[in-house]
């Protein structure tokens, strides 16, 4: 059963995941444990103290890329921030190091010149992503937290972030294109697995960016506007 229309809180959580296994990533970022039985999405969210509406908006954004995102002031900004924070942790402490290790084991094993420059490319990329995400952790999130806590922080506005927020996945896609198009290396299981991972990580990063640009930014813009 594959649903085209959006999921609601009355749908079963295990159906949601069986239909779209990519939802496993957000599930772990929301801190939800598996073993749902027949519980609905609404029940699982309530048990885990997660705002169901916000959960559904994020999940539906991932399942249906073309869906119209309704920015609604009742969405929980705290839930979105917690989600983004966990997702930063996932990329920086787990996924990107994991891909590096696999690249090294597949391409880097013979220390050829091509391997050296590919690893250099990757390390530079990770450094960029780290800077990008650390900026959000150090400047953007504290600003939002202070704003929703009732403060009136003067030194920042979400507009600054909106203008300078660039996409973080395109360089990773570039690496994968270079390997596929120009790299005459023999394919092996490690290499194919790491390419699969780069594809899915690029996609995951692009969803992450979408949540920031299309959900968080408009939500904070509205909040700033209404609390002037």
């Amino acid at each position: 059963m594959y649903k085209i229309s959006e999921y609601t809180e009355l749908d079963s959580m295990s159906d949601l995941i069986n239909d779209n296994y990519s939802i496993l990533l957000p599930i772990s970022r929301f801190g939800i444990s598996l073993g749902f039985g027949d519980k609905t999405i609404g029940e699982v969210c309530k048990e885990n103290k997660i705002d169901t509406k916000t959960f559904l908006v994020i999940v539906n954004m991932i399942i249906n890329e073309d869906s119209q995102i309704v920015v609604d002031s009742t969405l929980s900004i705290k839930t979105i921030l917690a989600y983004l924070h966990n997702s930063h942790k996932y990329f920086l402490s787990f996924k990107l190091p994991k891909i590096r290790e696999m690249l090294l084991n597949s391409i880097g094993i013979n220390q050829t010149n091509v391997a050296i420059v590919i690893m250099k490319f990757y390390d530079e990329y990770v450094l960029e992503v780290t800077k990008h995400m650390q900026y959000e952790e150090k400047h953007v999130f504290p600003y939002i937290n202070s704003l929703i806590g009732g403060g009136k922080p003067k030194d920042y506005s979400i507009d600054i972030f909106r203008k300078q927020h660039d996409n973080v996945e395109s360089k990773l896609s570039e690496l994968k294109n270079i390997i596929i198009k120009y790299c005459p290396v023999e394919t092996n299981n490690e290499l194919i697995t790491v390419l699969f991972d780069i594809f899915s990580c690029s996609k995951d990063l692009s969803y992450h960016n979408d949540i920031e640009d299309k959900l968080l930014v408009p939500l904070i813009e509205n909040y700033e506007h209404n609390n002037k």
Partner: protein, 199 residues
């Protein structure tokens, strides 16, 4: 992959629009970016904001707003318009458009029509790098700035920038570290010539 084509599909009917969009998405050899416009009342501001290369629109819905007014008000003369024909229409009306897609067209026919409209952008992707472009890559990966490259090759900075843009389009590589990988694979430079690598 060829360069991106931004296509706006303006059609209020979900069945027809989603059907067309799913065909466009399956034309994988073309790199298409799709914007769906459902509500035609804010068509003009949306076009101005998104600046598509191609607009696919059902002539029946343009209504009182004819194609010429649309072209005039958006002030974007380079946009190509494709009529999405769902019923029998006056041929005079259709001649205003650059191309017509009929709802009975096969995916292959739709692809051919899109290719015809975008041939210029696709051609540039098949070209090999010129000797000059290879020279420039060598200097870029050695860590030289555009100004230094211009001096070295006795070119203007402007020419160097144009060459670099063409290199990016041809190879689909936009970063210096990406060009470095390309240069090493194709033996344009030695590993110890590359900036930041110390053996």
């Amino acid at each position: 992959m060829s360069s991106r084509i931004h296509v706006a599909v303006c059609e209020p009917s979900d069945i027809i629009r989603k059907g067309l969009v799913s065909i466009l998405k399956k034309l994988t050899t073309l790199n298409i970016d799709i914007l769906e416009i459902i509500n035609l009342t804010n068509l003009i501001p949306l076009i101005i904001k998104s600046k598509p290369n191609i607009i696919i629109i059902n002539p029946s819905y343009i209504g009182s707003l004819n194609l010429n007014t649309l072209k005039k008000e958006t002030r974007l003369p380079n946009i190509q318009y494709i009529a999405l024909q769902t019923t029998i229409l006056d041929t005079q009306l259709l001649t205003q458009f650059n191309q017509v897609i009929n709802i009975m067209d096969s995916p292959e026919e739709i692809k051919e029509k899109l290719i015809k409209l975008t041939t210029t952008t696709i051609d540039t992707n098949k070209k090999e790098l010129s000797v000059r472009e290879k020279d420039i890559i060598k200097l870029v990966v050695k860590g030289m700035t555009n100004k230094q490259i211009a001096n070295e090759l006795c070119l203007s900075i402007h020419t160097v920038i144009t060459h670099r843009r063409n290199i990016s389009t041809k190879l689909q590589i936009h970063s210096t570290s990406g060009l470095t990988i390309y240069a090493i694979i194709n033996k344009l430079v030695e590993i110890n010539e590359i900036k930041d690598i110390k053996e």
